[in-house]
């Protein structure tokens, strides 16, 4: 009782407001020396924002941070490191052309009379890796030659080289195979014994139960609960806390769409593989349905969507359109076959920020506005009217169709891309994370649009890690796990709980045999299940 030393880290009343969204609301969080503390929550619950505040990437709108009981202000990542906070992000921050050692000490290479002291780097890097219990990585090797799991270890070594007292890992196992993940936990246990506080973010609940000491559950930017995690803690408990009560009415339909039963599916994919990352995927998209595809980060669903649009290399397998085998090697092929893709990277892959909204909308349909085939001069008024029609259709708020794209909000930009493809009038629309980073109002409008498009008899594929979204809009849901299609749910059978256990790659005995609609899927599930 007497020895109440303060926890190494305490965050009090942390609030973070972004334009139009309250990402964190009065969050309290603490971490002790020598514990693995998991931060648990769905996508958008605020986990990453909280960690970025701790790492000095964001400043909190309100709230205070105490280290060893003393209040601190973290202005930038450098100050965070000086306070002993190191973070390993989901995306690797390493440079392939440098050696392992150079990567670990990038930006603070030991110097001996002006030149970089290579032997010193080698020695120090070996030391850091030894701390991880890793002796099989050659520190003089170029990073690009290492497999992904070892790159991940180098990333952790880099974080450790700052001699942190608090180590944050943001989904470090997303890209790792189960065996590699086990290995990582051995390493984390070792670090724990060195009195380092480890904050661990993952979507894999099994890992949390097996390896973490405490868990803090976030939902919609608030802390639901902080609890001690025992071996006996069930995944279901965690899932229930994560979900809470959701407002289903936010989404559109009650009973799903009537599917047009044609002889052939609108789109059929057979045995599609992408290198080792997507394996042997088979599914159908029917007319008039919204097909949701979900899975953990890196389970292959995004690659699959890209493959269907011809922008993913190393694709094998068969794609059938209305029963006829087709070749899709480029977006041009895909568009010719009536398919479009709206990716999650709006800025990089969708928008022309310095062009007008009108021009952004009509770009794939320009041929239609040519006055004649021989002299392809644009019919300006027709083009403008068409753009205006779809601008009002999807309800974009702007001064005029000649407003520059850059001036629009994220939601309106996304609607403009939607308008672009509606004008092109295609039958298969594929969306990757259609509502990423846009405000609630625009979200609801986009959901309404997906609904309307399906009712018109088009086929919609929505790829998203957001289970609430997937559940709310899909007629059927496919779940991917480690590159394979492992389960299929009908709208009626799906629930957030079942989806959560499916995306974890749960074996059939978790929820005995339900929802498995054909044998192939169940076989896939048991294979990956036994591996995990």
């Amino acid at each position: 009782m007497a020895d109440v030393s303060p926890p190494i880290l305490e965050m009090r009343g942390i609030t973070k407001r972004f334009p139009g969204i309250l990402a964190l609301d009065d969050v309290a969080f603490s971490a002790n020396r020598g514990e693995i503390h998991s931060v648990i929550g769905q996508n958008g619950a605020g986990k990453s924002t909280l960690m970025k505040i701790l790492a000095g990437d964001y400043a909190p709108t309100r709230g205070e941070i105490l280290i060893d009981g003393k209040p601190v202000i973290i202005h930038n990542p450098r100050e965070a490191r000086q306070l002993g906070i190191s973070i390993v992000y989901q995306e690797l921050s390493l440079l392939g052309n440098l050696t392992v050692g150079e990567n670990i000490f990038l930006g603070r290479e030991p110097v001996r009379t002006l030149a970089i002291d290579d032997s010193h780097i080698v020695q120090n890097a070996r030391g850091v890796l030894a701390q991880l219990g890793v002796d099989y990585i050659d520190v003089t090797q170029r990073l690009a030659t290492l497999p992904l799991a070892q790159k991940q270890l180098v990333e952790i070594a880099k974080a450790l080289s700052y001699k942190p007292r608090i180590l944050i890992l943001d989904e470090p196992t997303a890209a790792l195979a189960p065996k590699e993940a086990d290995n990582l936990f051995k390493i984390l246990t070792r670090l724990k014994e060195q009195d380092i506080a480890i904050i661990y973010i993952t979507h894999r609940l099994k890992e949390i139960i097996e390896h973490c000491d405490r868990g803090t559950i976030l939902r919609n930017g608030r802390v639901v609960k902080t609890l001690n995690i025992e071996r006996s803690t069930s995944e279901d408990t965690l899932i229930e806390l994560m979900i809470g009560q959701e407002i289903e009415s936010f989404f559109r339909h009650e009973d799903g769409h009537e599917q047009v039963s044609d002889q052939h599916a609108l789109l059929r994919v057979e045995n599609l593989s992408i290198g080792q990352r997507v394996q042997d995927v088979t599914f159908e998209l029917r007319r008039g349905e919204v097909l949701g595809i979900t899975g953990l980060l890196g389970a292959g669903q995004n690659l699959l969507a890209r493959a269907l649009y011809g922008i993913q290399p190393h694709v094998t397998g068969v794609i059938l359109r209305d029963g006829k085998s087709i070749k899709i090697d480029s977006p041009q092929d895909a568009i010719m076959q009536g398919t479009c893709l709206l990716t999650e990277n709006r800025k990089e892959e969708g928008l022309f920020l310095d062009m007008t909204v009108k021009e952004n909308i009509t770009i794939p349909s320009l041929r239609r506005f040519a006055r004649s085939r021989l002299l392809p001069i644009l019919a300006n008024r027709r083009e403008r009217n068409a753009a205006q029609e779809f601008i009002s259709n999807v309800n974009i708020i702007l001064r005029s169709p000649d407003a520059v794209m850059r001036t629009l909000s994220g939601g309106n930009q996304q609607k403009a891309i939607l308008a672009r493809w509606l004008l092109r009038n295609l039958e298969v629309l594929i969306f990757i994370e259609p509502t990423r980073g846009i405000d609630v109002g625009a979200k609801a409008e986009i959901y309404r649009y997906l609904d309307k498009l399906a009712k018109e008899g088009r086929g919609i594929i929505v790829v998203s890690p957001d289970l609430t979204e997937i559940l709310g809009i899909s007629d059927r849901i496919l779940v991917m796990h480690e590159g394979r299609m492992v389960k299929e749910f009908s709208r009626r059978d799906a629930s957030e709980e079942r989806l959560l256990s499916a995306i974890q790659g749960a074996t059939n005995n978790h929820k005995v045999g339900e929802n498995i609609e054909n044998g192939r899927h169940s076989a896939g599930a048991s294979i990956t299940g036994s591996a995990g």
Binding site: I311, P331, Q332, E349, G350, L351, I363, P376, S409, G441
Partner: protein, 330 residues
């Protein structure tokens, strides 16, 4: 609250509007101010004769700058245009001099040969994926060599002969020298292509966001190669005008023209990052350079100084481009 933010975004600030206006008409304003200053400080500047001189002087760089504008719009650069001017004029005059083709077809052949150089540039840049600076630096040297080879076969010089050339050199239309008429006509064509055709729209799209253009189904490779071909065709026409202006083609013809063209493009406000710019402003850019050089000539300033001045104009314009880009992105 979201609605309030949107409405604020919909209303342009007054300062914003002035800046926009300056962006739009700033170059024209500079040209007018220069004309005013030069007219007041010299006796011979503001005369019809001198205006015709200036137009004759700027016609060739201004025409070459049309293609350069398109190349810079797609985020590229073409350093070979000066050499292509030599090559095409050497080719067409060699054909005429040796009696291989009559004047008209020979001119067409020379311009098409120039287009071929553009095709080589485009294929190396887009298919082989070598950077545009390296490729066109290579063709700049190689094509000048080719042109000089043609001259060497013809005893190091080629005399320009033919009624078409002398007509271009001497005739005027409504007091406009013929090269200026050709220049204006080509600018009208380029303006139509860039603003009124799907191809022009795609050029802006590619320069603005190539990845997004690809994902919109634009064949960016084909379009970009075509832009390099158009740029070289423009330089080929420059070769025609150059032949008309000179009485003989010598090995140094067209040297440094690539920089005059790039200067005009940048002064016209086209962003070196691609995707932003207007061809009708490039002609103003060319005019500004022409005005300054003409003024220095009238004032008797040596050609060596003139070169340095153009160099500093490029640097200054590039600086302005960088500053405005930094501001628009912040």
């Amino acid at each position: 609250m979201a609605v309030i933010q949107q409405e604020q975004a919909l209303q342009a600030q007054p300062g914003e509007r002035i800046r926009e206006w300056l962006n739009q008409f700033g170059t024209v304003l500079v040209a007018l101010v220069l004309i005013a200053i030069f007219s007041l400080t010299t006796d011979h500047f503001f005369t019809l004769q001198n205006a015709q001189n200036i137009l004759r002087q700027i016609a060739i760089p201004a025409i070459v700058a049309i293609g350069m504008t398109m190349v810079i719009l797609i985020g590229g650069i073409d350093l070979s245009v000066g050499s292509v001017v030599l090559f095409s004029s050497a080719a067409m005059n060699s054909l005429i001099f040796n009696g291989v083709l009559p004047t008209g077809p020979a001119i067409v052949a020379g311009i098409l040969a120039a287009g071929l150089i553009g095709l080589i540039n485009g294929v190396l840049i887009e298919k082989v994926k070598i950077s545009p600076v390296i490729v066109t630096l290579g063709t700049m040297v190689a094509v000048r060599g080719l042109g000089q080879m043609i001259l060497w076969i013809n005893n190091s010089w080629l005399w320009v002969r033919g009624p078409i050339f002398s007509a271009i050199k001497a005739d005027t239309w409504l007091s406009l020298p013929i090269p200026a008429v050709i220049m204006v006509a080509l600018y009208v064509v380029a303006w139509v292509i860039l603003t009124q055709t799907p191809f022009g729209r795609r050029i802006y799209a590619i320069g603005g966001n190539q990845r997004a253009a690809e994902l919109c189904g634009v064949n960016t490779t084909r379009d970009k190669i075509l832009v390099y071909v158009l740029c070289s065709l423009g330089a080929g026409i420059g070769g025609l005008l150059m032949s008309a202006r000179l009485s003989a083609i010598s090995p140094g013809v067209g040297q440094g023209l690539e920089f005059d063209a790039i200067t005009a493009v940048i002064l016209g406000g086209t962003s070196l990052a691609g995707g932003k710019g207007r061809v009708e402003k490039t002609i103003i850019g060319a005019l500004i350079v022409g005005l300054i050089l003409n003024y220095m000539t009238i004032k008797g300033i040596s050609a060596h100084y003139q070169r340095a001045v153009t160099g500093f104009i490029i640097l200054g314009a590039a600086l302005l481009d960088q500053l405005s880009r930094a501001r628009s992105e912040s």
